[in-house]
């Protein structure tokens, strides 16, 4: 066979492989786009605790449950290493927030983690 034809066939095969395997479309990743909304929501619980004079970590459970139920379908809620709600099969993201509560005499640190 003519070497030029073989060369053309090879070039054609290479072009086909290039066209079929190349990905020329731009990709936009938005997996973490709502992180700031979650942290803004977690911040609102700080105002809630201040207004309602919540001074213990247990007192944070109702507002945190309301927040988690409102924002997530499945989640795990952990306060000070104690798991309160666990209905999440997969935990891909972790949101951590530390609340410092003050009862007039002592500070209480509540380490809140939400996994989803």
């Amino acid at each position: 066979m003519n070497p030029i034809i073989i060369f053309e066939i090879l070039i054609g095969i290479m072009a086909l492989i290039f066209i079929l395997t190349s990905d020329i479309s731009p990709k936009i990743y938005l997996e973490n786009s709502n992180t700031e909304d979650i942290y803004a929501s977690l911040l609102s619980i700080y105002y809630y605790a201040k207004y309602n004079n919540i001074t213990t970590c247990d007192g944070l459970l109702p507002p945190l449950t309301f927040l988690s139920n409102s924002l997530f379908n499945n989640y795990t809620l952990i306060i000070n290493n104690v798991t309160y709600v666990n209905n999440s099969m997969t935990n891909n993201y972790a949101y951590n927030f530390i609340y410092v509560l003050y009862d007039g005499q002592n500070f209480t640190y509540c380490n809140v983690t939400i996994l989803r």
Binding site: S33, A40, S44, Y48
Partner: protein
């Protein structure tokens, strides 16, 4: 002459499918890019509204600490705010919590929409704000 015809046939046999695949590839890439662009456009419009409602001095004392303004505005005022922000797509806010529910903007249920949720504090209670824009 026969060899040349043979060469031309092989060339066309490869080049026409290759050209077809290239065109379909570019077309699908363009469609994907357009979808992503439209999505980002709407998403950023919605983010603009979220920031304006939950983080600006007009409606909040601090981030997600609402002042009474949001609870006093009516639908017309809200739509004026939306148009002043430069958002020309149908949007809505559903404020829900503490036995209070109010919908501002266009009702978007049943259609495809992008939704951002925030829980914000107002007057001793937590309210769920659902921001939606048509997709």
């Amino acid at each position: 002459m026969l060899a040349k015809l043979y060469e031309i046939l092989i060339f066309l046999g490869f080049s026409i499918p290759a050209l077809y695949l290239l065109i379909t590839k570019v077309y699908s890439a363009y469609n994907e890019w357009k979808y992503n662009f439209d999505f980002m456009d709407r998403f950023l419009d919605l983010k603009k509204l979220v920031f304006f409602i939950t983080e600006s001095n007009n409606f909040t004392y601090q981030i997600c600490n609402l002042n009474p303004t949001l609870f006093t505005i009516d639908n017309t005022t809200f739509l004026n705010i939306v148009s002043e922000l430069g958002i020309n797509k149908p949007v809505s806010i559903l404020i829900d919590g503490n036995n209070y529910t109010n919908l501002l903007g266009y009702y978007l249920s049943g259609t495809t929409y992008i939704e951002i949720r925030r829980v914000c504090f107002y007057n001793g209670s937590l309210y769920l704000l659902k921001f939606r824009i048509i997709s």
